[in-house]
Amino acid sequence: MVTLEHYLILSGFMFVTGVVGVLTRRNAIVVFMSIELMLNSANLTFVAYSSFLGNVIGQLFVFFVMAVAAAEAAVGLAILIAIYRNKATLNIDEINILKW
């Protein structure tokens, strides 16, 4: 039997994987993918709770998170392209004109 705890543990694991990915990876695209993983772990939590509470608001929120994540992805990739055209690198250690 799959219980709420299973979903929460999975989403917690996904969230932590995302955080660790953001903090340790050096390629901006991989960092961005880790951020998407964090958002999706939140989505999973929402859907799991929504199903177990018998309450659709959580599923509705997931729609908004997905739409916003798509908009964020579009803007983020555009920013990455702009920086790649000027610097020809996406390694965030090399993007360091401003003091970090």
Partner: protein, 147 residues
């Protein structure tokens, strides 16, 4: 045996079948390698350059536009399910959203992001206050063929 059990049995059977087939073929086939035979098979031609070519930047813009419009449609699903409960105002509220999406699309159209070959800036600005013709790639190919 449950339904999943049957699927498991089928999967085991499939794996065994493949392994047995390959193993028997290995036992009975002749083994005479030559240089020609060991070459990677690439459609009969030797590979020219790296397969990691850069895609045209235009694909990226089209992908982005697709991504955004595709996902925004998700927001229409809950509205479609319940708008009747809110009467005419609920119906119009959904149309506001669709109108905003259309406004965004007209913006992209005007900015030339739906054109496959981006118009020259002069040509682009020459007919201000007129929507440029939307030329789809398929139509253009047909024109080229008839020419």
């Amino acid at each position: 045996m449950t339904e999943f059990g049957k699927i498991l049995a089928f999967m085991i059977l499939a794996i065994v079948f493949v392994i047995v087939g390959i193993f028997t073929a290995y036992l009975i086939r002749p083994h005479r390698p030559t240089d020609e035979k060991l070459l990677t098979y690439e459609c009969g031609e030797n590979a020219q350059g790296s397969p990691w070519v850069r895609f045209n930047f235009r694909f990226y813009i089209v992908a982005l536009i697709f991504l955004i419009f595709d996902v925004e449609i998700v927001l229409l699903v809950p509205w479609v399910l319940i708008y009747q409960e809110y009467g005419i105002l609920g119906f119009l509220t959904g149309f506001i959203f669709i109108f905003l999406l259309v406004a965004g699309m007209i913006y992209e159209w005007r900015k030339g992001d739906l054109e496959w070959d981006r118009p020259e800036s002069e040509k682009f600005m020459a007919n201000t206050f007129k929507l440029p013709k939307l030329t789809l790639p398929a139509k253009k190919i047909k024109e080229e063929v008839t020419n």
